[in-house]
Symmetry: C2
Amino acid sequence: MTEPAIAPTRLWSDLMTLASIGALPHGGCDRLALTDADAAGRHLFAHWCREAGLPVTIDAIGNMFAWREGADPALPPVLIGSHLDTQQPGGRFDGPLGVLAALECARALDRAGARTRRPVVVVNWTNEEGARFAPGLMGAAVHAGSLPLAEAYAATDRAGRRVGEELRRIGFLGQGKGPLAAHCYLELHIEQGDRLQHAGKTIGVVEGTENNLFLLIDCWGENAHAQATPMRQRRSALLAAAAPITEAEQIGQEHAPAGSAGIAAMDVLPNNRINIPHHARLSFSATHPTSDGIEAIRTAIAAAAVRVAEQTGTRIELEPAPVRPAVDFDPALGDAVEQAAADLGYGTMRLRSRAGHDAIRMAPFCRSQMIFVPCEDGISHSERENMTESDAAAGAAVLLRVLCRMAG
Amino acid sequence: MTEPAIAPTRLWSDLMTLASIGALPHGGCDRLALTDADAAGRHLFAHWCREAGLPVTIDAIGNMFAWREGADPALPPVLIGSHLDTQQPGGRFDGPLGVLAALECARALDRAGARTRRPVVVVNWTNEEGARFAPGLMGAAVHAGSLPLAEAYAATDRAGRRVGEELRRIGFLGQGKGPLAAHCYLELHIEQGDRLQHAGKTIGVVEGTENNLFLLIDCWGENAHAQATPMRQRRSALLAAAAPITEAEQIGQEHAPAGSAGIAAMDVLPNNRINIPHHARLSFSATHPTSDGIEAIRTAIAAAAVRVAEQTGTRIELEPAPVRPAVDFDPALGDAVEQAAADLGYGTMRLRSRAGHDAIRMAPFCRSQMIFVPCEDGISHSERENMTESDAAAGAAVLLRVLCRMAG
């Protein structure tokens, strides 16, 4: 048996091949969950798994599990992977890197003739992004038992189509099972921030997540004719909503670089050109590594809402939403990632994730750990999302080394 | 034969009865064009027409025509009416007043045993509002020959349903015809502004419409993760769009009370809470009685767009849209309205419409004229839309008097 090793060109080739499915004109991808493009990506992944001799099972929420036997099949497996679905528009790496690197790890074990004690399972989680069906992290949440299957099935997109129907339509409503227990879960992902790039480090040892705050800001005005209503009689919800957008940005700037804040989404009713809107709903989100920081942001946006409502004579309500508190990953697994990176000569940095990941849902289910690699300028969820071939290979190599250690 | 006279309580009762179809909790209505509620309103109107002995024909775009014979059936008829569809939410009077007052005029002629020389045709135009299917004023435009039927059929709502399919679904895709020529078209409508109320006048003699300007303002940013992207790397199209919303309002205030301006609708892409949007499209509209005024507004919003783009580092484009120039109604008909109101002892005011109306599409087809009556505080396209029973009756009485004169 030789030492297992990643084939960097194969990994990069797989990433670029997958990126051709749902390819967008400016270098990005659109494989929104449970669309035809998502199905095509899933079929390609299943094809590669079969080529690698890994049987694939699909569970009731469409999670795909590719199984590599261990010397002791009774032992809980090491689970590695991420997701193949994207935002719309999305990039080529957010998600696929973790799945395809995991598959390449399995092939690396084969090439080396290695047999691990524990089984190794490569996973593609369903609907991580949540861009079409809320909530995101859906497949991992169902697998970990924190989201009832029936609730996931009932989630609808803006056209009223349901997860259950769409899973059946694309042929990925399975009857198989994932591992009922797992020894641990490992996920490789691009950082989606620029801390690694700024520090000149290759491997991020992810200690957990930061505090996340989501709030809905409802601005209420009065419906009226958009051309005929006298200016002094107008009370536009859209006009009232303009101020919180800029206030949220200022709050984010004031808390940068540690924290962030902003408005990303907005729905206007009735939203046609001859009606002054009576309702505008803003989706505010913020992150901060400390509880004090996230509470300061919450206080600031609430104060801004009160101020703007007074200034515009409209009613503004904040839907009380709990802070999604920081999640900690497994310290021993973090040490293992750091050691593996050091063994391979890569510079490391400890950091926390600002974005949500399947590993957050897996953490209560089994010991979980993420490995970050740099992405260009911290840009993701974008056609501009980019990374280097060598960083992809470095991340996969660290994943393989930790996997070997954990699988025995 | 006695002098024909409106029955005010019947007209008000009809308005309130119709308002129960699609009734909303705060006093408004939702009978969006070609929905089940619109169909129910149409069936009620057809029932009342049959009760009044008026045969109803329905044309290929769903316009409903109720015919009252004249002594000389060969003469082009006098056409009177408006529309029964509403905004979402809409009020109880914008549209129905003109249709139900016209029907009451026909009943008043019957009660008086009056026989006019010309036929009288009461019309309910399809999809005046344009809230679900663009363009608005659809039925009148098809009838007047300015919108091809096939183009109207192909218009889709946000769910992708087409006008042609929806007309067939609700059973109002007819094979009948409206009058191929009309002697004139008369339309009674609430003012949708507060000039009559402020002046203490009951009848508005509508000289025509004001200049209307519609512009699409496209704000372009960069797609990115809404939580993980460093604040300094963000270029949100939504943030860039906030400034034009307030700038448009200021321009409107500066040109008030003669002119108006504002942003009524906004689409954000991709519009989910974890993506910084790359595109926000604003729908700007403005009115002004003079060409100089409307051009000044156009120049001001264009300058604001350039300024905001520079300040926010984003790209802002204005889709060049021609001013919808002022339309003039028939001066002799205007004089006839003024005379009829004076004969009945109602105070009058000459004014121009800021909103679009079916009469605008009819004006090139035949001599056309509108009669305005006050609406409370100038509020329309709103559940708060309101008017008095006596003003409704006054408008119907003036309509009847002009009708008698024109129909001979």
